[in-house]
Symmetry: C2
Subunit: 161 residues, 2 copies
Amino acid sequence: MSEDQKWLTVDEQRAWRALMAVVVLLPGALDTQLQHDSHLSNFEYGVLAMLSEAPDRTLRMSQLATLNDSSLSRLSHVARRLEERGSIVRQQCADDRRANIATLTDAGMTLVREAAPGHVARVRELIFDQLSGDQVSELEQIADAIRSNLDPEKRMPTYVN
Amino acid sequence: MSEDQKWLTVDEQRAWRALMAVVVLLPGALDTQLQHDSHLSNFEYGVLAMLSEAPDRTLRMSQLATLNDSSLSRLSHVARRLEERGSIVRQQCADDRRANIATLTDAGMTLVREAAPGHVARVRELIFDQLSGDQVSELEQIADAIRSNLDPEKRMPTYVN
DNA sequence: CCGAGTAACTTGACGCTTCAACTAAGTCCG
DNA sequence: CGGACTTAGTTGAAGCGTCAAGTTACTCGG
């Protein structure tokens, strides 16, 4: 905490503020769309989407947590709610009886399938309609550079669409 | 929700996932640093930082809310907690007695001043150490393009450092 | 100048996230 | 084997954000 520390340049400040605006506003915008159209939070959508792509629509709780950058506790609470709504079921794993595996139900699968198009449309509208092709690849490089520091193991493939 | 909708291209998907990783992980990383070093959330830091730069260290609640992209309700709750901790005080505005003005106390000012260097250092480490000068200006342009859709009035200068 | 409408907050309840236990099961090794 | 340690997950309490409702004050047309 020395006084002679390196401050941000003017350019960096502008970039920083613009990035923070996106980071703060984007999740809310996505949540609003998903909540309105499918009664799902962004996080719940992510959970269901990951399951929908997994073999047998099934994943261990711990894998599912890692994939969504979630604590096990958070996932556990959300999974209980999703189970109550009939979107997933959980059962003890036969191999390792500490483990619990979550499976997407048919109703859950239907839910994700119906939610996906609207979600993707919103993503396109918010992000890609604003960007040139060059900017899209620049964005990928920049975001990946930042991400490399935040998530060194790249454990987070994040919700696929 | 038609079936023949426009999906994302492979390039767009990669950019999208990288961006989402940043959007999900960055707030947590910043919160961790601030919480650890100054017992502040990112949002609280933003509130105090905005006040620290305002004339007389004073702003109306509604302005403060807008500047931090917050609902008045959220700000009101946070302001109560900050007031309890002695970082700010609130008092009725003389001109318009519906309004409430928040003022940063000396203790609050000290708190922000002490928190800022560590926060900026973490931002530099997470973001700018990873990027070339060209990438910084590209980032600004891209983030601004996305932001233009999320926050058309650009009401959000976001936490200055 | 007075009543309807609106603006600026605050408050309380509810839902979600986090954190700190806690349970139960697997693993390691002496 | 058996005790110590680790791993997987759940649970309950506490904290924060959101939403709807309430309060007080300003404003503006008649």
